[in-house]
């Protein structure tokens, strides 16, 4: 997986960065989903532990 999008330079002899790779888009969505799942789980476990005491 690439971090950047590339194009051929106007001289045709090298690659130049033209921006961030859109292949990373699902990873940023996954990061948000992972945070939400972990936070919700921790809060649920902490809440259950609080009820038990």
């Amino acid at each position: 997986m690439e971090l950047f999008r590339y194009a051929t330079s106007i001289y045709g002899d090298s690659k130049v960065v033209i921006g961030a790779s859109w292949e990373l888009l699902p990873w940023f969505v996954a990061a948000g989903a992972a945070f939400i799942i972990v936070h919700a789980a921790v809060k649920a476990i902490a809440g259950r532990r609080g009820h038990a005491h």
């Binding site: 960065v17 969505v29 939400i36």
Partner: protein, 227 residues
């Protein structure tokens, strides 16, 4: 002398005559929701075409970007001049209570965390992250406007060489994708039942005296009563 020391005296913290505490003035609520609409419009016009929903997105995107830029400038000026911008800065008590709260959530023992002032440590960290990303997006986006024709200016792509343009576009892209993560987290917290008292305050402006006393350290946040 701090801003809180120079402010006019506030009304008593617990006034029996008032059942509600003003948390967000009307101006700030309008700002929040217009900003939310502009951010969602920018994200939709940026990412929907990438995932396959093709439409004429560029005009909508750059015009909404100008709206967001103006909104952020207004927010910065208002926060620096008319609001107590220090309320959004991390202080020692935030860090201490954040560590205690984390320890308690992981099952550890120790002193109970104190209550926050107007904003919790998580809100302050979120605001800092959003500020960094939005400012990066705005700065790079304004430079990217040099590459398009608009009714107000003609494109001039020769301001920077191709390598520099690549960095500008990469900053815009990475910060924009990271905003997706932040927006997801923001919506998640707004929808959590234990945070509804805050979400409702961004609609109606106020919180109940009970929520104020339950969730906030009344010595760290002393709001004026709503008349």
């Amino acid at each position: 002398m701090t801003a809180s020391e120079t402010r006019a005296p506030v009304a008593p913290v617990v006034a029996p005559s008032s059942e509600r505490v003003l948390r967000h003035a009307l101006f700030d609520r309008i700002y929040h929701w217009v900003m939310a609409a502009s951010v969602l419009t920018l994200m939709g016009s940026a990412f929907l075409p990438i995932i396959g929903f093709k439409f004429e997105w560029l005009s909508l995107h750059w015009m909404t970007g100008i709206v967001l830029t103006v909104l952020v400038l207004i927010h910065i000026v208002r926060a620096l001049i008319w609001q107590d911008w220090r309320a959004m800065l991390l202080d020692g008590a935030d860090i201490r209570d954040g560590l205690r709260k984390t320890k308690a959530a992981l099952g550890g023992s120790g002193p109970a965390p104190g209550k926050p002032g107007k904003y919790k440590i998580a809100q302050k960290l979120y605001h800092f992250a959003a500020a960094v990303l939005v400012l990066a997006i705005i700065a790079s986006g304004l430079l990217m406007l040099l590459k398009i024709d608009t009714p107000f200016w003609k494109r001039n792509p020769y301001w920077f060489d191709s390598d520099t343009w690549g960095i500008i576009y990469a900053v815009h892209g990475f910060a924009s994708m990271a905003m997706i993560t932040l927006v997801m987290i923001h919506i998640y917290f707004a929808l959590r039942p234990d945070e509804w008292w805050l979400t409702r305050s961004m609609v109606g402006g106020t919180v109940s005296r009970e929520d104020y006393a339950e969730h906030c350290d009344t010595s760290r946040w002393r709001p004026e009563d709503r008349s």
